[in-house]
Symmetry: C2
Subunit: 229 residues, 2 copies
């Protein structure tokens, strides 16, 4: 991943412009799928394994070897959000949607209109809270991600989370989940979003959020240029 | 991990009694630390690595081999919450505190009184939301975990999350974080908890929650027997 051509400074984290075509980003992401999938399956197997002392130590050693190989070409610091000249952006370290991040299921999201978003994920053993159920905080994580995306009004405005309120209506079993968000209204720099997580036809957690457009984010045209996903 | 002595049925997930002494559980947990640490470092290295096609495929293959080894002795289904006769419990699959779960930082928590809890975690690149900052939903996850533990009034009552409200006061940079929770009041089966996440002396997100003791959870004595952590 030649992100730092000779002579150009590397910005760690932040919103970073990377001068590569979208086809290259797509290729990087396609290449990431097998290894990220394997890492997620490793996590699930680790949670459920009955392996003990000696076997665990041996596996830890093998993992250390793989860590070294990945570190050999790693950039310092978190992934940040990167984008190219075509407006394609990618945030592989994002805790909810980061392709390469075992913390993320990952959830995939799409705009169903300029004011609504649909997300879906399959939540396995790694997302457990009460036995066999999705952790209430994981529901909050996915809701926050979808609501933030929704508040962007199809990437035409930049916002921060102001307030989130979640009502836990019924337990959500581990497995496939659907997250829906829509803009309820906007009052100046405040965007009111409503959302839910559950399975099709059944809401487990309903949410309301107020997202704030910071005073400096006047440049809507600039935001529109960053067209994620 | 000989959790299923000959003749005993294995309950997948759920609250499962396992007849082993606390010293054995402590040993299992100590044995888990190196491999879980390595798995977390693998995740961070994967997020930040510039390795491409061939190298990623090779690493994926090695990971698959490790998945097979862990699967060979894995029990089916999620980890659930397990406990022994001494009241020691463990939930390795928990998304916030699960020792063996890469999704969890993990956060460590302790009761600072029967009505208050303090948690801490170090949030690396895998917990990113806005560039260089903790994902708002990750704050929610850790707050929910601490608030739920707080509502248990030092494990003397069992509750579910009813409602959570979070106010995002300022961005929270990746790094060490502190989560504080305390019971504000209790009205019948409703427990009102307040909490915050930030760094010592600086609150990034403040939260209020209502936790509900289900009607069937009358057996406070039974709950008191399950003394987690």
């Amino acid at each position: 991943m030649s992100e730092t051509p000779a002579g150009s400074a590397e910005i760690v984290g932040g919103f970073q412009f990377v001068d590569v075509p979208t086809s290259q980003v797509d290729q990087w992401e396609a290449d990431s799928v097998p290894v990220a999938d394997a890492a997620r399956r490793l996590n699930e197997a680790l949670i459920r394994s009955r392996a003990e002392g000696e076997e665990l130590r041996s596996i830890a050693k093998e993992l250390e070897g793989l860590v070294e190989r990945l570190e050999a070409t790693a950039h310092a610091g978190p992934a940040g959000v990167r984008y190219n000249a075509e407006g394609r952006s990618w945030e592989w370290g994002n805790a909810a949607v980061g392709l390469r991040n075992v913390v993320a299921p990952p959830m995939t999201t799409e705009f169903t209109s300029t004011e609504s978003v649909r997300g879906e994920a399959v939540l396995g053993a790694a997302y457990e809270g009460p036995p066999g159920m999705v952790h209430g905080g994981v529901s909050a994580l996915l809701l926050d991600q979808v609501m933030g995306k929704t508040a962007s009004r199809h990437h035409t405005q930049f916002t921060f989370t102001g307030t989130l309120t979640m009502k836990y209506l019924q337990p959500l079993p581990l497995g496939p989940v659907e997250v829906l968000g829509r803009i309820d209204r906007q009052e100046g720099r405040k965007v009111f979003v409503v959302a839910s997580i559950g399975t099709p036809g059944s809401v487990a957690v309903s949410a309301e959020g107020i997202f704030i457009k910071p005073a400096w984010a006047e440049a809507d045209a600039a935001a529109a240029a960053v067209n994620a996903d």
